[in-house]
Every structure is written in C-alpha cells, then in structure tokens.
Amino acid sequence: MRELKILVVVLFFTAVVYWGVEPFAHSQMHPHVAPADFSFKDLGHTVGKGDFIKGEELVQANCVACHSVKSVGIQSAMSESDASLAYGVVPPDLSNAGLLYDPAFLSAFLKNPAKAMLVEHKFDQTRTFPMPSYDWMSEDEISSILAFFHSIVKPVSDKALYEEACGRCHDMKYDKTMSHSDKAALTAYMGTLPPDLSIMIRAKSDEYLSTFINNPQKQLAGTSMPRVGLTEKAQNQVISYMEKVGDRKKAEREDLGYKLIAYMVLFTLLAFAWKVKIWREVH
C-alpha cells in the first residue's frame, strides 16, 4: 500500500505543476474573450427582401469597375495585377459573396466598408479605404444587391472558399496556394506582410481561430486584418481547409494513437504478469 500512497503523492504534485503551467497559465496569459458573434450585432443591420433583378442592375452599374462576378460571366474592368498595385490587394470576385458573407454584415459593409471590417483605425482623411462607401443607397437597393448575390450562389469546396475569403492576402505555401496580390503593394497596404497560413492551425487553437476570424480586433487589438464577415458555415469551411493543409496527418495520428496505446496496455499487462511470477519467488 505504501507504493500506492507514493504514487498518489507523485501524481498529485505532477498534476499541480501541469495545471499551473498549462491551463492556469494560459488562462492568465490569454484572457477569455466573448465567443464569436455570427449575427454581427454590433453593426445593427437587418436585411429586407430585395429584388434580385434590380440587384443585378445595381451590381452592373456600381461594382464591376473593380470586381468580377465570374459565375455569371461578368469580368472586371481592371486586371488582377493592376488592381493589386492600385489598391494593395486584389479585389474579390463576387460570385460567392452571398455564400461567404453574412447578409447583415454585407449590408453594413456596403454602407461603410472600413467600419464594418473594424479597420477604421487604419484610415483617415489622407488615406481612405479603397472601396467607396455606398451610404447613399437605400435599404431597398442594398437588399436587392444582396438578393442578387444570394440568387447566384453555388456550393464551393473548402479550398475555393478559403481562396476567396483569405487567399487574396495570405499564402498557403504548403498547399502551393499563393496570394495573387503584389507582395510589395500588399505589405504597404497592410503595414506588414500577412502571415503564411500553412500551419496556422497548429499555431493557434480552434477557439482562437474562430473568434479571431470572426473579429480580429477581439484577440489582437489594433491589427490591420479586417473582419471578413464570414457566416458560421463559411468560417468552419475555412478552418477545415486550414486543418487539412496544416495538420494533414491528424487522422493517421489519431488512428495510430489508439493502436500504440492498445499495444502498450497489453505490454504492461504481460509485464505485470511476468513480474508477479518472478517476485513470488523472492517475496
């Protein structure tokens, strides 16, 4: 019984140390933030029912100078590289805007992009956000644009969704998916080159990523990364793609983990039987 008592003492102190340097220390270093808010309540926007035919006209009139909508055959007036040099980052194709972005976010975004993206601190009188504010549009017109985007939505793969949502600024070197934006222009625009995301899934916890993507300022006040306004589903697709690239041996690791543990348990039982047999002679 003395051995059990010793074991309890050893386990107790080990557990205290573990608790202290892991869960406790991390709770102190990374204060808890509110969970992701996928309804974007802070923007206070609601979306009415719009007319998608009118929406298409509005998009043709207002958006296609910079944006393409390839799924319905609309090409942008500007080439990718010209746009990248002019704006710092390639403007997004809008084919899947209705799928990627939350409608409440998108309507607030059209009225004031910098505000919706929480990057107002980067812009002032001398430096303006590349996309103009459409605050002169009526609620009905905005709803119509959204209705148009919604009407052309098709499901996309995790990777394609990632490329549209994150891949215009970030590289994913380990999947050979590189940002189309000019690196120098992008660095000048963002203040720093956005990090490669290849193994970001290993560098940040799920919880961090889900609150960070939803609202970067919450975890990293003052960052120039914009709030992208992804819906919960789109964000999960992005994270799932990041996991596929950054932790591609996860399934193998877990599968092998069970086998290794099972082997060691059997090994231990056999060792125990042998030990009992041998010590019977000497005790």
Binding site: R2, E3, I6, L7, V10, F13, T14, V16, V17, Y18, G20, V21, E22, F24, A25, Q28, M29, K173, Y174, P195, D196, S198, I199, M200, R202, A203, K204, S205, R248, K249, E252, R253, E254, L256, G257, L260, I261, M264, V265, F267, T268, A271, F272, W274, K275, I278, W279, E281, V282, H283
Partner: protein, 418 residues
Amino acid sequence: MAEIKKATGLMDWLDQRLAVNGFIKVMMSEYWIPKNINFLWAMGVVLMSLFMILIVSGIFLLMYYKPDIKLAFDSVNYTIMQEVEYGWLWRHMHGVAASVIFLVIYIHMFTGIYYGSYKKGREMIWLTGMALFGIFSAEAFSGYMLPWGQMSYWAAQVITNLFGGIPFIGEALVIWIRGDFLVADATLTRFFMLHVLLLPLVILLLIAVHFYALRFPHVNNQDSEEFDFDKEAKKYLEGRKKESKVVPFWPVFLSKDFFVVGIALTVFFYLVCFHYDFAMDPINFEPANNMKTPAHIYPEWYFLWSYEVLRGFFFDIGGIAAMDIGLAAFGFANVIFMLLPFLDRNTMHTAPAHKRPMFFVWFWLLLIDMIVLTVYGKLPPTGANAWVGFGATIVFLVLFVLLPIITKIEAKNEGAES
C-alpha cells in the same frame, strides 16, 4: 592468452573470446539491488527508455532536418511533419519525450533527496546525476532552437543575452556564443552541432559514469538500511531467495521496471498522439521573425523555476542592478543542487526524510517552493505575480542557506541520543 578449446555452443564460443558469461553475471544476473524498494527506483530505467526513444527518433529527424535558417522551419514542418512517412511520429515522440524526460528526472532527483541517496559514499552518483541534468538542459535548449520557430528564436535571443550580464566579458561573450552579432545562421548551425553530436556524446559518457558510480556504494533502499551485500547475495545464490535482502538486476529488478516502463510509455503515447501542446508550444509553429516578439515568451516548463529565480529580483538593491542580482541568484540556483551532499552536514547518517523531522519539513518546503516558482515562472511578471515570484525566490535561497544549519543540529541531536 587463455587456452581455447573447441566450443560447445555459441555462448561458449563467445565466452572463450569475450568472457560474456562473466560479463552477464557482473552486469545483470549477479548485479545486486536491494529488495526493499518501491516504484520510484524504476525511474532510472524509465529515463533510459526515454533516452533511447530520443536517440532513435532523433536519428530519423536528422535524416531530413536542414540546419539553415532559410530551410529549417520548412524542413521540420513540411518535410518531416507532412511528407516523410511517420515523420510526424518521430517529431512528436522527440518533442514529448524531451519534455517528459525532465518530469522523470525531477522525480528521480527528489527521490534521491528524500531517501538521502546523495551522501555517505553516494556523492559521485549525485554529482554525475546533476551533471547529467545540466547537460540535458543544454541539450533541450539547443534542440528547441532547431525548428527555427518564434519560440526557438526568442528563447535563443533571451538566453544567450543572459550571458551579457557577466561583468567585463559579457558583451563579447554573447557574440562569441552566437557566432554573430545577432541570433543568426551561425548560431543555428553551432547549436545544431551541440545538439546532435557533442552534447549526446557527453551524455552517453556521463550515463556510463553514473552507472559505474552506483557499483561501490550500491543502490539505496527505502529505509536507507545499510547491510552487507556480499552476505545477502550469498543467501540468494544458495536459494534462500525470500530471506535475502537483495535481488539480481536481471531478471527480478528489471521485471518490475518493465512493468513501470509499460505504464510510463502508455501515458507517453497518449501524450504523443493526443495531447502534445504542452511539449510542442503552438507559438513555435510560427516561423521565426526577428522583428516581432511574441506577446508571451517563456521557457519550457522544466526551466521555469530557475527562470523565475532569475527574474524574481525586479528592483535594484543597494545600488546593484536587479538584472545582476537575478543573474547571481540564477547562477546560485543552478549550482546549489550540485553541492547538496556537502551542504548536508549530517554526513554519516543516511535516512529517509520521514525519519529526519527537520529535513522532512525542509524537503516538502523546497518541493512546494519550486512548484510555486515553476507556476509563477510562466505567468506574466506583473503586479502581485512579481511579488509572489520574489517571495518564492527568497524562500528558495534561504532554504539552501538553512540546510547546513538544520542538518548540523540534526547530527548533534543524533549524537546526543546515542
């Protein structure tokens, strides 16, 4: 030359040439270990197993790792983790074993302190053991640099800067250690050499001496009882196995050790596959960036207590800069354990701590204080945290100042009793 006869079998053939039978007797079947021990005595073999795991996994990592600041990060995180078959397994095993081995070292070390296995003839065991601890620390630190992630870089930056506090030569020494004015490619390649060649060689040598040092004073037992090993061995060989106080290393002692190793490795593989963040800090999965320090930097958990001693003094005292006092305290903390056999002034009496009332209190205070230091060593050193760290540092220093005094009193009391 010995007379060589026609061999009766392979063992006999080998025996005539290498004296394998005698060797096996000396090393295994007639190497005597006390019977009165508990599972804490298996930690040596657990350490050996983990060290073997480190060597084997390290060999496979070495096949694909590239010691160049431009290539290191991707060679680890892409080639090894994603391309090489089982590369992730070797890396996880290597990282987790490096962390877990320190837990076992600490258990091993505190077992030695508790049962008084560091004195009265066992000083060399203790000294080589503490030397191993020191070299293992260097091995862990140099290995941590190799993936060239954010923690690798900033740990290297901070720890090499420590030497800058040494009077007169500090600044030049830092540059000498780094091989550059900053932590750079030259630093990486020399630490790579240390990690894969020089330090492992020293470790192997020290392990051999550590084992050899056990031979004469013999392994201690859980009552610190002293007895005649030859007499007890004779009883055992005569068949009075139950009566004898000793058992042979093989198979009796090892059969128990294998069982303990089995349990340890079961937990180990769970950690390797499902719970590795404690040993492979997520921050190190971001590539090194010499223009951006992570929000929180801290050493691996096993360095935290001495790191906290280092930063415990956060204010100047009597005109001496806080940094210098901290450095002196850090130096103290790193050599003081080495001196334990000489600080214990009750030199001629070995007993477990529960039979030494004052030492017993000292032991548990030390353990608790080191845990406090460890926990606060990771927390941001601000506000109340800084004061707790300062207090625990003072307690640590005072405990070692007190040790010679209380053991002296203990020796005196025992002298009076007898």
